[in-house]
């Protein structure tokens, strides 16, 4: 039926055939697909190790068709450190949620970033604990109702949301930091660009890279998938502005192109 047509969008090679167990409209699936596409485009599948963490994405090792290590809650950056110190040329990425990364694993992410460990973190921020049924996350917005902030998060009770990119941006170690949203086609395209940049940063050996992806949790937000992406665009981005915070690869490329530019110098 399609013999005369060219396939322009195919199922990524870096994903297994296993059907993802995410709720309808949950953008974990989008993030997985983007990461897999980047792995395919860079041709690094056979030297990539996926670090699955604790949270809804606990089965990431079943979805990504790469070697994988399942990590205890919050410790993926330490596990990644161990792998990379043994195998510097292996491409390692940790797929962490907001509870895993910004709550229980805050020490590990900050120190791995500070050391400039050469691996990539894909950080899904959906402002809620999905797997354990909708409790408050460190990134839950003020006023947001969760099953452990039933009247809405208030600062006196539960403090303020944590901005991970901004926090890590105070460190010298990271080489690439960006926040994107998985809400609309342009944002999703940018998200993929950022993910690719992060992996390229690692391939170039420049150090720690992290992409924060503003994501949805229709189930525990009590919204339809469409309402949820609208919520990302209209509410989450107010607290978590979309930006590329750091891109040392670009800085390096700038230098190189300056060096190779004809007519420059003496």
């Amino acid at each position: 039926m399609t013999t005369d047509m060219k396939q322009v969008y195919a199922y990524p090679d870096a994903l297994t055939e296993v059907e993802m167990r995410y709720c309808p409209g949950c953008t974990h699936g989008t993030a997985h697909r983007l990461v897999a596409e980047v792995i395919d485009e860079l041709g690094i599948k056979d030297r990539t190790v996926t670090l699955a963490t604790v949270g809804c994405s606990v089965y990431a090792y079943e979805y990504f068709d790469t070697d994988a290590v399942q990590c205890s809650h919050g410790r993926a950056p330490a596990v990644a450190t161990g792998i990379k110190r043994v195998q510097p040329d292996t491409i390692v990425f940790a797929y962490q949620g907001d509870g895993d990364l910004a709550s229980i694993g805050m020490a590990e992410i900050v120190h791995a970033a500070a050391r400039g460990e050469n691996f990539t973190v894909i950080f899904l921020n959906n402002a809620v604990y999905g797997m354990t049924q909708g409790q408050m996350a460190p990134t839950t917005l003020l006023g947001q109702k969760t099953t452990t902030s039933p009247r809405g998060r208030t600062a006196p009770e539960a403090g303020f949301p944590i901005r991970v990119c901004e926090l890590l941006d105070t460190l010298d170690g990271p080489a690439f930091l960006a926040r994107e949203a998985l809400s609309t086609p342009p944002h999703v395209r940018n998200a993929k660009r950022a993910i690719k940049r992060a992996f390229e940063t690692q391939v170039a050996g420049l150090g720690f890279s992290l992409v924060e992806l503003l994501s949805t949790c229709p189930t525990w937000w009590g919204m339809t998938p469409l309402e949820a992406i609208k919520h990302v665009d209209e509410q989450m981005t107010k607290c978590y502005p979309i930006a590329v915070f750091r891109d040392r690869l670009a800085a390096q490329e700038g230098e190189q192109s300056a060096e190779s530019a004809p007519g420059e110098g003496e």
Partner: protein, 67 residues
Amino acid sequence: MGKVVIDQERCKGCMLCVEFCPKGILAPAKEVNSKGYHPIECNDEDECTGCATCALMCPSVCIEVYR
């Protein structure tokens, strides 16, 4: 001229592709699939340009696009 192939069993009917299809030619099926979701179908194949926006937005990774 394009064509979308939506895996009816993997589709969870989340409607993100429907929302962003520039031609407005995607819609949920009347029937449910084995998981109880109304999978998305293309109801006017001639209109499809193969722009792949639907696949870009699909969290279930169940859309293939040809052009």
